[in-house]
Symmetry: D2
Subunit: 106 residues, 4 copies
């Protein structure tokens, strides 16, 4: 599945449930905050080493995948509703970051 | 640019600056929270209508694209560091959501 | 109960459970993000009017009180662990805000 | 200054600037997310030890105090706008936590 297909599936999913009215930019930003908060909660009491190894615990791994998926789905949906090309925006930003933070041995 | 190319560029970017030690799962979750917070701040005082039209204001549009890019870049990096395939995780979740929330007219 | 008594109760609560090792500044900031995320999730799909009236629905009211309490408890605990006087810090900031944002009819 | 005086000052501050219309529950939850995001950003790249010692660095200390103050001010304002007594809500929650998580040596 490509990113474009995922964007289209999210669009169809919302349309089929009449959820488009809920998917306003402000609401989707709040939903994104909610999901990033859940991701934070999964990691908050882990030591740095436990966090690195989080996929070794099957239950925790499932939860981490699940929350990362939720963040991705709301981010994709927010960008789509606003008419922003996620990959193009990220590329523009990384191009800028290359100049702002020159590499160590250039 | 594809998502895979973006993942690779983020990886190279961190390596060229010796930032890999900073990019632990906990730190990246905090960075993601920080960027989603900045996105929240852009929308917090807008009315729902102003938020829908946010790309019509060139300065605000640039800021929104910028913050959405930052969220995307940290999300991609976090998934990469953990060894999670973002698209596969999102697809698994949307498959599950299709069952949890049946469409209106099925 | 005063704020100082609440701070002390949080301190005793952590000590009695041997949770002081978990209550590092970074972990508490993540816990705070997690609770603010849960608060966000309660409000994300509400219309502005529904959000204003959220205490009229007993179940929602209980959840909102609960999440606001959680945010308060982690904020108090974070400030205490860092040695920051929450009220003094807030007063300093509101004094500064008075100058940064002059009132309309002064 | 007491918490009640701080609540009143925030109320007067918003009224004197005609900002009450902006201070809806949803907007204040987003503002709270924004400030917790800024707090997260201050701590994201610190090691656990650097985070513990953050008040030793005068610039970082000022920023941490500032962001903790902002979180406090929006939390107080949100509770006030909703008509929630912050201390009472927190006390109810800590009472409940005492039962949910029994102490080690009771």
């Amino acid at each position: 599945m490509t990113l474009d297909e995922l964007i289209q599936r999210q669009r169809d999913f919302a349309a089929a449930r009449d959820w488009e009215g809920f998917h306003t930019p402000k609401n989707l930003v709040m939903a994104l905050s909610g999901e990033v908060g859940e991701l934070s909660a999964l990691f908050q009491w882990l030591t740095p080493d436990e966090a690195v190894a989080c996929l070794d615990d099957p239950d925790l791994a499932a939860n981490v995948r699940d929350e990362i998926a939720d963040v991705t789905l709301y981010l994709i949906r927010l960008a789509d509703v606003l008419g922003i090309d996620l990959i193009a925006a990220a590329r523009t930003k990384i191009d800028r970051n290359e100049h702002r933070f020159p590499p160590l041995h250039s």
